[in-house]
Structures are given as structure tokens and as C-alpha cells.
């Protein structure tokens, strides 16, 4: 018998060892604790190294990054995430990104978890022209941990050349004219949210009995769906979607990619229009927090906001950004966003109760299964 072979006693000992280790780690979280010593310090806007940006794909004009890099003689790198939960996971694991783009709800979560850093926005000259709503948003009182990047509404994009009868209602996601050619956003909040609105419930309801009703609505809608996808630009442009739940900026982008932009229209729904803000924050793990703050200010510069909006199709609540978006949507006011709607935070996704959040994700998983 070779030395390497285990006898029964050794096997039992090894098993007991594993069990003991399991008992030892029981109660620990998956990630090692992060160094949060920088949490109390206020970030100063000064160039302190190369910049690593962590953002949604296709959400920022790369030329702006090149110009900033040239101006300050540093390197700017962008990497992308495709959902916020993945972004948070990377941060908790110690990912040293300098600038991130969480939604308003995630700003609050990251702040509670001490994963983002504080700064003084009065030191940023270009923040002065931000819409007043963002002086004191619900997710970040006094705006000390975030600045708004872009805002959006959720509605329905559809083809105008296929004789569809649209009703400005979320029920259009089960429009019989387009059966089998309808997409729903692959996003648990957008999916369940519109079902809640159809049923007349509060957008962020945590009531189990209401969520069960909305689950039935979703299962009914699923019958006529062609798929779940957050890539609305692709489903629209490739011709696979006749109707899709979509974010308004993506409709602008889809129009930019076809010869005849009038084939795509966008409607907001009478049951309610979910609105949202994507913000900019500096993670606790940032290596160049000062550069990140400088770049935030650079993005808010009117000329940069203007070209960024013309590039990504999403409105920015700052001088330059507002004008650019008005120009983009002058023929179709439905794509525009009313900032008052954002102030009405009942139409913004916010699941602050962790149990409600788990209930929502469970229902969404069951719907998709």
C-alpha cells in the first residue's frame, strides 16, 4: 500500500477536520473584511494617480476620457459591469476601482455598508449647475457621497411599421398584436415593478399577497414573450422585438443605428412611469480618489455633458446635458424625463428592507424558471 492512500481512520479524521473548519467559519461572511480606514476622510479634488472607471458598457463617450487623460498626463482605463449586483460583489472583494456608477438605490446601500467615500461638492465648480433636486436626494442627504450622472424612465419601445395598436399601458407587454415578439427587461425590479403598477399596487410593495398577484400577472405575460433581455438596442435593431420594455435612452440609441429612426417609438404608461438616477461615487477601495473626483467634475462641465449625452442618449441633469437631450428628443417628447417625477420617489425603485428584496428576487427567479 502506498503512503498516499488513506485508511479509514485517516479519512474520518479528515472529515472531522473539515467539519470543525466549517463550524469555525460558520457565521462568517464570504468576503474578507475590507480596510475601511479611509471611510472618515473627505476626498480632495486633486490628481493623485491613474484612473480606473467601472461603469455600464456604452455609457460614456470615450473621447472625454482621452481628453482628460491628455490634460493631466495620466492614464484612464474603463472596465464594465453588466449588472449592479456584480459590481457590488467586486467592490466587496476589494476591487480597486476609482469611480463607479451605482443607481440611486445602490448609492444608499453602498453608503450604509461604508463602501463609498465622502467628498465636499462645493469644491467642484461644475456641480453648481446640477438640478436642485440633487442637492438633497433621498438616497444621499446633502449629496455628500454621490453626484448624479444620468436619469431615465422605464417605458415601452415599439415598432411603428407593424400595425400595432398601442394603449399607453403596461398591458401592452401582453399585446396580442405582437404575441411572441415581445421582450421584458431581464431585471427583477423592472419586471415585478410593472406588474405591481398594472395591479394598482405601490411600485415597491413588500406585501406578500400583492406580490403573489403580480407573480400571476408576470406568468400570464410570459406566455406571449419572446424573451427576457436588457439589451433592448439589440433586440430592436435586429428586428426580434416588436415591443419591448425599455429604458428611454436605449430608444434614442436604437434610433441612431437604423436608416429610418421613425420605426421605433417609445411610450410611457398611464399606470405609472418608473424613474431612476444613475450616480457617480468613489469606492472605499479607490487608489486615486482625488483623480476620480476631478473626473466627476470634468464630466459635469457643460461642454462635456453635452457631447456625452449626444453620445450615449441618456439625459444628464446638468447644464449642457439638458440642452443636448432636448435636442435629441425634440420630435418625441415621450422620451423626455420630467425631473418632478424623480422627486416623486414613489416611482423610483427602492427596496430597503432586505427581506422584501429577497422575496422579490425569489419571485423573479420563479417566474423565469
Amino acid at each position: 500500500m502506498s503512503d498516499l492512500e488513506l485508511n479509514r481512520r485517516q479519512l474520518l479524521a479528515a472529515g472531522a477536520g473539515l467539519a470543525l473548519t466549517a463550524y469555525g467559519v460558520s457565521g462568517c461572511t464570504v468576503e474578507r473584511p475590507l480596510d475601511r480606514s479611509a471611510a472618515g476622510d473627505i476626498v480632495e479634488p486633486k490628481i493623485d494617480g491613474d484612473l480606473l472607471i467601472y461603469n455600464w458598457a456604452q455609457y460614456m463617450d470615450p473621447q472625454i476620457q482621452k481628453d482628460f487623460a491628455e490634460e493631466h498626463g495620466i492614464r484612464v482605463t474603463e472596465v464594465n459591469f453588466d449588472n449592479l449586483e456584480a459590481m457590488v460583489t467586486k467592490l466587496r472583494a476589494g476591487g480597486a476601482y476609482d469611480l463607479i456608477f451605482p443607481s440611486s438605490e445602490y448609492v444608499k446601500r453602498l453608503k450604509n455598508e461604508q463602501l463609498i467615500r465622502q467628498f465636499d461638492r462645493s469644491k467642484l465648480p461644475n456641480a453648481a449647475t446640477l438640478s436642485p433636486f440633487y442637492d438633497n436626494p433621498w438616497y444621499d442627504p446633502d449629496s455628500e457621497f454621490s453626484l448624479p450622472y444620468a436619469y431615465y424612465t422605464t417605458g415601452i419601445a415599439y415598432r411603428t411599421d407593424q400595425g400595432l395598436t398601442m394603449t399607453e399601458s403596461w398591458n401592452d407587454l401582453s399585446n396580442p398584436d405582437a404575441e411572441g415578439r415581445i421582450f421584458m427587461l431581464d431585471d427583477f425590479q423592472e419586471g415585478i415593478g410593472q406588474a405591481n403598477l398594472i395591479n394598482g399596487f405601490y411600485l415597491n410593495t413588500a406585501r406578500t399577497e400583492e406580490l403573489e398577484v403580480s407573480k400571476e400577472t408576470l406568468l400570464m405575460q410570459k406566455e406571449g414573450l419572446r424573451g427576457f433581455s436588457t439589451n433592448s438596442v439589440q433586440t430592436l435593431v435586429s428586428g426580434s422585438a416588436a415591443i419591448t420594455q425599455a429604458w428611454n435612452g436605449d430608444v434614442v440609441n436604437a434610433r441612431n443605428q437604423v436608416d429610418d429612426p421613425s420605426i421605433f417609438a417609445y411610450e410611457t404608461c398611464k399606470e405609472g412611469v418608473p424613474v431612476g438616477t444613475d450616480a457617480m461615487s468613489i469606492p472605499i477601495t479607490a487608489k486615486s480618489p482625488g483623480t476620480a473626483l476631478m473626473f466627476m467634475d470634468y464630466l459635469l462641465k457643460p461642454s462635456n455633458a453635452y457631447r456625452n449625452v449626444m453620445w450615449n442618449g441618456y439625459p444628464q441633469p446638468v447644464a449642457g446635458g439638458r440642452e443636448a437631450f432636448a435636442k435629441l428628443v425634440k420630435d418625441d417628447p415621450s422620451i423626455d424625463v420630467n425631473l418632478e417625477e424623480i422627486a416623486d420617489s414613489s416611482m423610483e425603485f427602492r427596496l430597503e428592507d432586505p427581506e422584501a428584496r429577497q422575496e422579490w428576487t425569489r419571485i423573479w427567479t420563479e417566474v423565469k424558471a
Binding site: L18, G27, V30, L225, R226, F228, S240, P354, K368, A369
Partner: protein, 292 residues
């Protein structure tokens, strides 16, 4: 030379060479055994208020795996993977047979031509199918230009597209082992079959097929294992009813932020696949014993 002395040296030498196992063992230990154990430990855990996984001792995740909601997902994944295996075998066998028996001096060129597309990332290759098969994609545009159809045919976002994507993605794992065992087969046994008045079909069934059985078995396992856990094909080419267990697991780790449940699903999948693997290894070793 004294044979005993020689044996002694050999023993010392083998002890010395044993140390060369250390880097590999360390690698497997750190990057395979430890993560595997963490997944196992986490599968008994739960989620804290921030949505982070916390280790613990509870069965609830395993109860959820066998909840009636998720059983259809498991069944669907296995069904898709089995159909994929059968299609890969039906397509891959003639291809491998042709190259091995009739490829002549071009054999290696043909094998390289089959392998080279697989150097491109699987995700990118699957996106290419989306561009080709979309309603206003290349294929539908050709069909309409040639007046073969009036309206675009829905090809993507269907179960067929998902299985097609799996077949395309993994067929090379079928062709290569088949090619190996067909090439190793002594062609004279086929001639012997014919000499014994076997029709081509009977010769194939009674001679070629049994002789290449190890390759068939290896190919089936190599295709089945990745296909059953795949999520790319269903995500890009699938519709609302093609959700596979790979998608379920991926969603638990990202969108739903429920790592413990994702881990429990992973453990159940691994146990299920391990059964297949053991079955295969036992068959394979018995096969070798038969040959000897």
C-alpha cells in the same frame, strides 16, 4: 550489475521524483479543493441583510433546490444536454470517420480546420449566431431576397436555437475522441467483416461501432458535462421557456445575490455529474481491460 542495488537506486530516485508532484498538488489543493470546499460550506449558509453570503448549518437551500419550481429547470437542462449529445454523435461520427479513414495526408489540416474556430471565445461565437439568425439577420434577409419566405422565420429565442448553440459549442469534444478511436482501429477488421459476407451496415454495427466504443463514450461524456451546465446558449439564443440550470446558478450569484442557494444548486449539479463521471470511468477501465 547487482540487480538489488539497481532496485534500491530506483526507489531513491522515485522518492526524489515524488517531490515534483508537490507544485501540481498545491495547485489542485489551493485552486480546486479549497474553493470546492467553500462552495460546499456556503451551500449550508444563508444571506445577511446586505445580501452577503454567511456560512452556517442549515438545509433550507437544499430544500429549495428540490422545490417544484426548480425541478422543471433541472429536467429541461438534462433533456437539452441529452439531445445535444445525440446530435453531436450523429453529426460528429461521420465527420470523424471521414477524416480518419479517407483524410489521407490532409487529415491534420482537416482536424486543424475543425479546431481553429474554437480558439474564438464561445460567447463571441454565440453572438455571431444571434447576428446570423435574428429576424432581420443575414439568414432571414437571404431567405426573403430569394423569395423562399415572405415574413422572417423566428429562429432565435427558441429551444431549437439553444440546442443548436450547444451542439455548435461542444461538438469538437465529440469529434476529437471519435477521431482518435477510429484512427486507432485496424482497418483490416472491417475488411474481415466484409470477407465474412457482412453488408456495410452489418459490418458497421458489429465491427466498427464496438471497436470505437471508447471514443463514443468519451465524446458523449465530454459533451454532456459542459452542455448540462451551460448558460451562454440559453441566455443569448433562448426565449422565455429555455431557462437552464446554468442560468439559474448564474442569476443566484449575480442578479439575485443569493450565493448560498447558488452554491447548493452547484453542489447538487456536481453530485449528479459525478455519477455520470464514475459510470464513464468504470466503463472506460473495463473497456481497456477487454482490449488487454
Amino acid at each position: 550489475m547487482d540487480p538489488d542495488l539497481d532496485r534500491g537506486q530506483g526507489l531513491n530516485q522515485s522518492r526524489f521524483w515524488n517531490w515534483f508532484v508537490a507544485p501540481g498538488a498545491l495547485w489542485i489543493g489551493l485552486l480546486f479543493a479549497v474553493p470546492l470546499f467553500l462552495v460546499l460550506a456556503l451551500s449550508f449558509g444563508h444571506v445577511d441583510d446586505f445580501g452577503r453570503g454567511v456560512y452556517g448549518f442549515e438545509w433550507s437551500n437544499y430544500e429549495a433546490v428540490f422545490d417544484s419550481t426548480y425541478v422543471p429547470v433541472l429536467v429541461r437542462s438534462v433533456t437539452y444536454a441529452l439531445i445535444t449529445v445525440i446530435l453531436c454523435l450523429l453529426i460528429g461520427y461521420p465527420v470523424a470517420y471521414f477524416i480518419a479513414r479517407f483524410g489521407g495526408k490532409y487529415r491534420y489540416v482537416l482536424i486543424a480546420a475543425l479546431v481553429i474556430p474554437f480558439f474564438v471565445n464561445y460567447l463571441v461565437r454565440t453572438y455571431a449566431w444571434v447576428a446570423l439568425l435574428a429576424d432581420e439577420g443575414l439568414v432571414n434577409n437571404w431567405l426573403i431576397d430569394l423569395s423562399l419566405t415572405d415574413a422572417p422565420i423566428q429562429m432565435i429565442n427558441t429551444p431549437y436555437a439553444v440546442i443548436g448553440g450547444l451542439v455548435y459549442g461542444y461538438i469538437i469534444f465529440m469529434i476529437l475522441p471519435l477521431y482518435g478511436s477510429i484512427e486507432r482501429m485496424d482497418p483490416s477488421v472491417i475488411e474481415a467483416g466484409k470477407d465474412l459476407y457482412g453488408s456495410p451496415f452489418r459490418t458497421f454495427i458489429h465491427v466498427t461501432l464496438p471497436a470505437t466504443q471508447p471514443g463514443i463514450l468519451a465524446g458523449c461524456v465530454l459533451v454532456f458535462l459542459p452542455a448540462v451546465g451551460d448558460f451562454v446558449s440559453a441566455q443569448l439564443l433562448g426565449g422565455p421557456d429555455t431557462y437552464m440550470v446554468g442560468n439559474l446558478i448564474q442569476d443566484q450569484f449575480f442578479a439575485a445575490s443569493n450565493w448560498p442557494f447558488g452554491s447548493a444548486l452547484t453542489v447538487v449539479m456536481m453530485l449528479f455529474l459525478a455519477i455520470w463521471m464514475i459510470f464513464y470511468l468504470r466503463r472506460a477501465t473495463r473497456g481497456e481491460a477487454d482490449v488487454l
